[in-house]
Amino acid sequence: MMNNIDKPTSTTGSDTQRAAFEAWQQNYDALIGEDTPVKNRSGIEVQPLYWPGGDPDGDYGDKLGFPGADPMTRGIYPTMHRGRTWSQRQLIGLGRPVDFNARIKKILASGASALSIIPCNSVYRGIDCDEVEPEILGTCGTIINTEEDMDICLADIPIDEISIGLNDPSPFTMLAQMLVVAEKRGIDWKKVTGTSNQSDYISHFVANHMFYRLSLQGARRVQLDTAAYLAEHVPNWNAFSIVGQHMQQAGATPAQAMGLTLSTAIQYAEDCKARGMEPEKFLERFTFFFDISISFFEEVAKFRAGRRIWNNLVTERFGVTNPRAKRFKFHAQTSGCDLTRQQPLNNIARVTVQAMAGILGGLQSMHTDGYDEVLSTPTEDSAKIAVSTQNILKHEAHLCDVIDPLGGSYYVESLTDAMEAEILDVIAQIDAEGGMFKAVESGFVQQLIGASALEFQDQVDSGEQIVVGVNAFAEDEDASARPTLKRPPKEHMEQQVERLKQNKAARDTDALTQALEGLRKAAQSEDTNIFAAEIDAIRAGATLGEIVKVLRDELGFGQPLVVA
């Protein structure tokens, strides 16, 4: 703990007030009986009551300030949700590109304002559909192997008018495919906006290994090449999305997840700087992606503290003065880990609370989970409810009328300070390990997260953490009330494999061989941009699997460090 000591005594805590507080404390102690200490998920002990005299406050300007200015605690834009609410970025992906296209059009029509593409897990692994066991093909996302697949996914979608999120890990084949689609449609790349949501290879090494395709060093090289290429050619694309979500889902506490994410961002910023890129510029394109658990106040405080730390950190470590480069822009997703298989409709209530924490925490973009995520890949009906939940909160609940509405709450401010101290402590630990890259190479981070995951599970097992329907309020269940499962029909998948084969057969093999050789040479040399060579390979018709294979040959296959 670093805060809350040696601070100026508050002028609001007069003697009369202190006496009144002490009288309340006596009453409380007498009435409560045995008061068990309450701790939040980050291990911070929470008091029964907060008041201004209990936590002498620092200067308002230093700690809170006004939205859009240092230290950004209250928000990164002067207008926040009063001006523009948040992007409803629902992650969807299913079956064939044509199925995705039909579904995304419906979702856009129902109020979503940005689109997000989730490919099939085989795409995450860097394998074309003709090499995947047919049982699991297309069951979790869309099969996107070629530029043609991407073109079908985005049919009738104005690429230059909508913000696009690609769940596209290194080497960013989906982005390369989308840029070639835009090029063929005559769209200026400078008008393309969006984010590479899964660019954070360090988080993939540590957790959610599914996205992990290349060796750590190889992924580092590809990321920097891509960032440099995009800065020049696609200047409104966010090349970096630093993902705290994976680590929190893997078991990190909210404070740990925020600290590890900020340490990862420091690592990427240092890498960009070492490559000669300008922090004032590249930091403008940093975005973050977090998990929102159901620990409501803790999540609000996590986001407020994260914003303040990032603002101060980029100022101190990277000498940034441009406010745009200090903005802690983040997307957040409600946590699937809090959802229960038992009494699944209860999950709608859980998602609502999680979403409120994200909104009051000042997010810029959100995905709300389908209530049935814990039963299967979410169905269309549950995805609709998830979008409606956002619309209800946005339009009916009056959550967006006031900027940072929980700011000034004695509790929330005190908790924000305490979370800040915890997060800074995590960052200091990672600094001491030599930075995030080294701390994941050694397994330090993996051990930290694994221990927290086990600790939380022990609390659930012991009943210390009550989970409704699981370890309390359990009921006999009517399994027939569960949503019916839909999987892509077998013939759809067979068609997709057939389509890939035809696509491959129709290519100019000389041009293709030459382009893939160009990609190989780029990977071998230190001074040719890999992402530029990848775009050339896509133009020549190379598939996802072919590109990933070349880069794996040259840069190493991604095996995560598993610490059980």
Binding site: Y124, E135, F211, A250, G251, L375, L454
Partner: protein, 142 residues
Amino acid sequence: MTEVLLAPARVLVTKIGLDGHDRGSRIIAAYLRDAGMEVIYTNPWQAIDAVVALALEEDVDVIGISSLATDHLLVPKLMVALDAAGLGHVRVVVGGIVPDEDEADLLSAGVSKVFHPGAVREEIVSVVEQLAIAANNERPVD
């Protein structure tokens, strides 16, 4: 027939297919290890042949497959491969996000037990222990 194990149960905890979410498998590995079992733990994305080879080499009693996406759909293939390798005595359990329809298919393919979210430590440990005893009793003597 024995009712107890003379040596610690040997359990392979792994993931097959494409998914890499491993919070669950790590927790299960820790549960079983804490209960005194010998746990063999692997990276995700194991091929079925690799799981069979490891099961043979490590002479395991039970294989635990963690599936958070849809990789459990490959488990029937694993059951066939285990049989073909003379490992019919090895018990297989699956844990994770397994829809009801799929659970029925897995059980009829020979899977001993499917654990869903919310399964508790005591139940998991005791089921795996009982299955290890059963596997041991059926292990072919060479």
